[in-house]
């Protein structure tokens, strides 16, 4: 059954492998996936560990529902101390790897040490082998996956791999599976590279017994109905995440030219409908595909229509690639976006961080802080498509002074560049912000400021705040499972009630990450999608474990708190611009100047922002400095951590 999947502790230095069961008591406290990973990271790393040292544990997992009869249990989670931020490293991806890992007998891998030479892990039906990866080193992400399948003679193998960026220790290197499923954030590919670990390959045929199979199938029909009838998912299935980019750009919520503007004007060529046309022309009318057990199918397929990479196949692009190779560098060509997306996928490099770093360098260049001396003659002005794509390659291979400097991530690069370069860096906790502009949306600003892995939209964003839902509808969603009687506002520019919404979403997304399902299957982009009320049944029918909605909420609180404890141990401080819960000065000082009339002129009010932060800390049970109160730790059963009880 799902609960008999094991955890493996693998030491790459001496080749030792320990396989253990996961006690039910741990499932009841952390469920699985990201939550249990957070427990493991906090327990199996020492304070101040160098992220690139053998002592930094790399943890790979599926959720408690992975490969069961529940929908969209495709997500793989990877966690370690981040070489990009020096804080929590955490990334989550779709595809087919986690289910294969579960069929091979495992839900969690804890990988420590460093191999003497490049290796990869082969996990199959309860066995784990450490194999030579000498021939794989230097290959792109796609080449690596095919080479492993060829070497092992099995086309059904699913692999988690790094590309050249991970090998070159680019601090924002990806972990990838498939063509474009990316564990993009916080540089987990860099951690793999530091361990000489090129890939983790999985193949399994071990059945997962469903606790109440008939009921699980029946209940999943209801789930599927909820998922597929949501308009937001229907649009995702037609256009993918570019549809969100299109709508966001329409009203002026898009980070543009390194946050100088909030809208990319005349961007017709990279609008979702245009990208859809290109996909239709180059791949065919049925070009949308999906991850394991998902009904949404939000992943596009395309071939690059022209230019030096014409004819190359890839998948996506996602919202973040439109931002990274469109709005942020000020480029409006579909070919540039599709090519940039292809390059980062093949190199194994976070598209969001890559595009943001280059856009930052572009602004520094236009401001005279960087010159042609540092760019090796490259004209790095905004809107220079060729320079943009050239810089992607330079970063991956650490070519030239600037490529090598940017590959180390924003804060180290700012220190190396000097002057006031840091002031232009749009980051939180050392990681660049999503390509959205939150100056008109205080709730979303609080979300990016407080996310545990650095600026991020997938940790606590109340995206439905933009829909202006009636207050009674908001109350039905946000008063469950924990009653909430405080204010709630339908107005996205309001500061009222937003801390609770962010707090609720933080727990909702943590629960989803513990279950191992995709966020498009919960209250993220659609108000009508499943959440706490719906999960107890899914867990019970599939695993036999009984929880109430309130218990799942408490587990999510606990898991979020242990992530917070890790960050505090590694130096998080409330108002620290480099390691804190705050935002770049542009959020407060520079108003939006493009987009819809109601957005123009808005910026975040610093005083009101701080009040929101105070309130958010209260809900979490933190003191004014953002540290957990003793009573909170006791309530969540964390007062004795690290306990090393697994």
């Amino acid at each position: 059954m799902a609960l008999d999947r094991k955890i493996a502790f693998i030491d790459l230095t001496n080749g030792e492998i320990q396989i253990k069961p996961i006690p039910i008591s741990m499932r009841k406290k952390y469920l699985g996936g990201r939550g249990l990973d957070a427990y493991l990271l906090y327990n199996y790393s020492k304070k101040g560990v160098d992220p690139l040292s053998p002592d930094n544990p790399l943890i790979v997992s599926g959720g408690i529902l992975t490969a069961t009869c529940a929908s969209a249990t495709a997500r793989t989670h990877v966690m370690a101390k981040s070489p990009l931020t020096g804080l929590l490293g955490s990334t989550n991806m779709g595809g087919f790897f986690a289910p294969e890992l579960a069929w091979a007998g495992f839900h969690h891998l804890v990988i420590k040490g460093k191999a003497e030479k490049p290796v990869y892990l082969y996990i199959h039906n309860g066995n784990i082998e450490i194999r030579d990866a000498g021939k794989l080193w230097g290959k792109t992400t796609t080449e690596t996956q095919w080479a492993i399948r060829e070497e092992l003679g099995d086309d059904e193998i699913k692999s988690l791999v790094i590309g050249p960026a991970g090998e070159n220790l680019v601090r924002f290197a990806n972990v990838m599976t498939g063509i474009k499923n990316s564990g993009g954030r916080t540089g987990m590919g860099c951690v793999m590279g530091s361990k000489n670990l090129k890939a983790i390959a999985a193949r399994g045929t071990m059945d997962i017994r469903i606790a109440h199979a008939q009921e699980a199938f029946e209940y999943n029909k209801r789930f599927i109905d909820q998922i597929t009838s949501a308009k937001v998912n229907q649009t995702q299935g037609a256009l993918g995440t570019p549809f969100i980019w299109g709508a966001t750009n329409c009203w002026g919520g898009l980070r543009t030219r390194n946050f100088q503007f909030n809208q990319l004007e005349y961007a017709d060529d990279i609008e979702p409908e245009r990208l859809d046309e290109i996909a239709t022309e180059t791949v065919g009318p049925h070009h949308m595909t999906g991850c394991f057990a998902c009904q949404v199918h939000c992943r596009g397929q395309y071939r690059i229509p022209s230019g030096p990479y014409a004819g190359k196949y890839d998948e996506g692009p996602e919202y973040t690639s439109q931002g990274a190779f469109g709005a942020e560098p000020g480029c409006t060509s579909a070919v540039t976006v599709l090519t940039g997306n292809h390059l980062v996928n093949q190199f194994g490099m976070d598209n969001l961080e890559t595009g943001s770093m280059i856009a930052w360098a572009m602004e520094l260049y236009e401001a005279g802080i960087l010159t042609e001396k540092e760019t090796d003659g490259l004209d790095l002005r905004f809107g220079n498509d060729e320079a943009l794509l050239e810089m992607v390659e330079r970063i991956c291979y650490r070519k030239g002074w600037l490529g090598d400097t940017l590959a180390d991530g924003g804060i180290p690069a700012a220190e190396k560049i000097g002057k006031n370069a840091f002031d232009y860096l749009i980051q939180v906790k050392g990681m660049n912000n999503l390509h959205s502009d939150e100056r008109a949306t205080p709730a979303l600003a609080l979300n990016v400021a407080t996310s545990s892995r650095g600026s991020d939209h997938l940790r606590s964003r109340p995206a439905i705040d933009l829909y202006h839902l009636p207050e009674d509808v908001l109350r039905r969603i946000y008063s469950n499972p924990i009653p909430y009687k405080g204010p709630l506002s339908s107005e996205h520019t309001s500061y009222e009630g937003k801390p609770w919404m962010v707090y609720w979403q933080e727990n909702c997304y943590m629960a989803v990450d513990c279950l191992g399902i995709c966020k498009y299957h919960t209250t993220f982009l659609g108000a009508t999608l499943p959440n706490f009320e719906d999960w107890p049944k899914v867990i019970y029918y599939n695993t036999g474990l009984e929880f109430t909605s309130e218990e799942i909420w408490t587990i999510a609180e606990r898991c979020n708190m242990i992530e917070r404890m890790f960050n505090l141990r590694e130096g998080l401080a409330r108002n620290d611009l480099k390691k804190g819960d705050t935002l770049n000065h542009r959020y407060f000082d520079e108003p939006c100047r493009r987009g819809a009339p109601d957005v123009i002129g808005l910026s975040i009010d610093r005083g009101k922002f701080n009040k929101m932060l105070d309130e958010f800390y209260e809900y979490k049970g933190l003191d004014k400095n953002g540290k957990p109160k003793p009573a909170t730790l006791k309530r969540l059963g964390l007062e004795n951590e690290p306990s090393r009880s697994l």
């Binding site: 909820q226 009838s229 949501a230 649009t235 037609a238 299109g246 709508a247 750009n249 329409c250 009203w251 002026g252 919520g253 390194n258 100088q260 004007e265 005349y266 017709d268 409908e273 602004e363 401001a367 006031n420 370069a421 002031d423 232009y424 008109a440 933009l466 829909y467 202006h468 509808v473 039905r476 969603i477 469950n480 107005e491 996205h492 209250t523 108000a527 009508t528 499943p530 959440n531 009320e533 719906d534 107890p536 049944k537 019970y540 009984e546 929880f547 109430t548 000065h585 000082d589 520079e590 108003p591 100047r593 493009r594 987009g595 819809a596 009339p597 109601d598 957005v599 123009i600 002129g601």
Partner: protein, 97 residues
């Protein structure tokens, strides 16, 4: 055990409140419903004046493709100036502090 077969969740009941066949204005504080003429390639929000290019998924299902850039740019400029934006911009240092 929180399992009750007959209970519908908040998510399920909310679905019943949806409407079809129109587009919503993308100005987030407006969100007015716009009903374009069949096959029209542009539509103007009757509430806030924003203008949009349209895409038709099928003959009865319109979707906003993007803004009419020139029109909305003018609206943005006037709005920004009206909110004292020009003065704010002068006071701003370009980029950093």
């Amino acid at each position: 055990m929180a399992i009750d077969e007959k209970k519908t969740s908040a998510a399920e009941t909310l679905r019943k409140t949806r409407s079809f066949g129109k587009v919503r204005c993308h100005n987030p504080s407006c969100m007015g419903r716009i009903q374009p003429a069949p096959g029209a390639d542009h539509a103007k929000c009757p509430t806030c004046g924003m203008e949009y290019r349209l895409f038709w998924v099928n003959p009865t299902l319109p979707r906003i493709r993007g803004p009419v850039w020139d029109v909305n740019r003018e609206i943005a400029k006037k709005t920004f100036a009206g909110k004292g934006g020009a003065a704010t911009l002068k006071a701003e240092s370009k980029g950093g502090k």
